[in-house]
């Protein structure tokens, strides 16, 4: 039997407002801690090398996700340069309002590694960006680094 009762008058439609009132503090983990400290102190990207798969994974991890071997400590410091694997131009904010200026986001494959980082591309016009373009990281001044991905301010063409 189907439910047959329906509201007949639109003003009877009601809703109750609420929220999930939590905030989060995420720790980075053992490998993540090393990754972000390397960014702050050495301006290098930390990857982890898996001998079985013969690949360096970025960001560094304590395990290789493909063969499940422990690669904790097999860290390699890589130069913060890479190529643009793909990119897009953002015109709107997360709440739907228009951005003042369009923003470039790119997936940057770090040189020497499998994988890379998602980050902003600046100091380049969107129409000049090409897949395969070489870029390098621009870091925030050392005293402004907090231990997060934004310690890299953006990537720019080499």
């Amino acid at each position: 039997m189907a439910l047959v009762e329906r509201l007949q008058v639109t003003t009877q439609v009601g809703y109750w407002c609420g929220e999930i009132p939590l905030e989060y503090i995420y720790t980075y983990g053992r490998a993540g801690e090393a990754f972000y400290r390397t960014l702050i102190e050495k301006e290098k990207i930390l990857g982890a090398y898996c001998p079985q798969c013969d690949a360096i994974f970025v960001p560094a991890s304590i395990f290789c996700e493909r063969c499940f071997e422990r690669i904790e400590g097999n860290y390699r410091e890589l130069e913060p340069v890479g190529i643009v694997e793909t990119f897009t131009v953002l015109y709107k904010n997360i709440d739907g309002t228009l951005k003042e200026k369009p923003e470039l986001i790119a997936m940057i494959n770090i040189k020497g590694a499998v994988g890379g980082l998602l980050h902003y591309l600046k100091e380049v016009d969107p129409k000049d960006v090409k897949i395969g373009m070489q870029v390098k990281a621009v870091f925030k001044p050392k005293d402004q680094r907090e231990g997060g991905l934004k310690d890299i301010s953006h990537f720019k063409p080499l």
């Binding site: 009762e5 929220e19 905030e23 720790t27 980075y28 053992r30």
Partner: protein, 174 residues
């Protein structure tokens, strides 16, 4: 078979101070999780009646319960429910709690009243058919299971159509 040495090395113990003092790095984030939950037919009527100072339920003729909060289908008999029926705003305490903690695990401050929520079986709804609400106008530790209670409503101009239109239930004699 469990290797205690290996287990010890699996996790690194931290304290909240380690995060505050940046002994370990972390990232703070508050997601924007706001909702407007559609009431639907049944809860819509329930809240509208609460605004009028009345509690309404919906009868299931199969199991003979008066369901409160009302639902369009009975989850036990798995069929649509039947007539709407008003319930008295009196009932019996089935169980209760004296809570010294708030919703976020912080402690109730000295001088503030402890929270005393209870499951109250409303008269006429059926055996064990209760609703969750608060008890007041009695010392928390004087409450007993089985006490008779009655709703204390907000004045009509303050009611908005919410479960909080009933301020709390108070203990009555008999």
């Amino acid at each position: 078979m469990l290797d205690p040495e290996r287990i010890k090395n699996t996790a690194t113990k931290l304290s909240f101070e380690d995060i505050q003092t940046k002994k370990v790095l972390s990232f703070k984030y508050k997601p924007n999780l706001k909702y407007a939950w559609d009431n639907g037919v049944a809860i819509g009527r329930y809240l509208a009646e609460l605004k009028n100072g009345r509690i309404i339920g919906k009868r299931c003729n199969s199991c003979k319960r008066i369901l409160v909060p009302p639902r369009l289908f009975c989850e036990l008999c798995w069929r649509p429910t039947d007539e709407w029926e008003y319930l008295k705003d009196t009932g019996t305490i089935l169980t209760f709690v004296v809570s010294h903690v708030n919703w976020d695990a912080s402690r109730v401050k000295p001088g503030q009243r402890y929270h005393t929520p209870a499951v109250i079986e409303l008269d006429g709804a059926g055996k064990d058919q209760g609703i969750l609400h608060l008890i007041n106008e009695i010392e928390p530790y004087d409450i007993r299971i089985g006490m008779r209670v009655q709703a204390v409503w907000k004045p009509p101009e303050e009611r908005i159509g919410a479960i909080t239109d009933i301020k709390y239930f108070k203990v009555i004699g008999g």
